[in-house]
Amino acid sequence: MPVPADGRLLLRSLATFVGLAGVTVALVWLFESMRAVLAIGGSCASGGPYVVGVPCPHATALTTVAAILGGILMAAVYTIFGLRAGPRITLLIWCALFLSLGWNFLDFGLRAQDGSDRLGWLSCAVVFALMGGGPVVGLAFPRFARELLWSDGAGMPVGLRSGGVAADRPPADRPADPRPVAPPPAPPPPADDVGTALAKLAELHDRGVLSDANYAEVKRRILEEQ
């Protein structure tokens, strides 16, 4: 099977690998940091001028901030500079984020001793599951999956390109546009009649505005242009 002769294949492969691996690292850090915070009651603080009631677990502040900023950066690297054909799973990053964090809410919500904690965390679990699970449910529909998560080589998946799916269809397949079609622009006004132009030129010549040489030159140009 031939390897595509793309001069930028190596760079794009590297961007896909680094971007996606970086996003995965960020998701793992967020997942683990969140579990560490939920394990001490769901809230904590570090630094600042106030007395800290519940200090954050070791390095959680660092890993959380780094995961958020780094994850966004790596997702951009993957989406913008990655391979142009095959899987384009930017949308699944969203799903992985909300489903993994939603799992934490569910896990700790079911085990919470305090009733208000349980209700709050389970509510968050439902919201996160809905936010992250919607696109996953859509994967059951091959057309949806193909149009949003797969590219045939033009970069973004069909469904995420500017203009959406309709822009990718051949013209015969598109529905008729109900908007009124603007009339074509009117043709440019016809050039002055040669006779009229020559008459005006002769008039200028007769009035002495044009010299004989200029009159002959302009007259020759008018006749050449026709």
């Binding site: 031939p2 896909t16 995965t24 793992v28 391979l83």
Partner: protein
């Protein structure tokens, strides 16, 4: 030389797409391993 039934003949970019799938799988596996190891190393747990 490709025959009409050859998948490469039907999709000239098949090799690139398969390569992309492989890179994705490697990236996710590497990210998971690196993420778990690095978090536990940083957090000291």
């Amino acid at each position: 030389m490709t025959s009409p039934g050859d998948p490469v003949a039907r999709d000239p970019q098949l090799a690139l797409k398969l390569w992309s799938v492989l890179v994705h799988l490697l990236a996710i596996a590497s990210g998971l391993a690196l993420g778990i190891a690095s978090y536990h190393w940083i957090a000291g747990v």
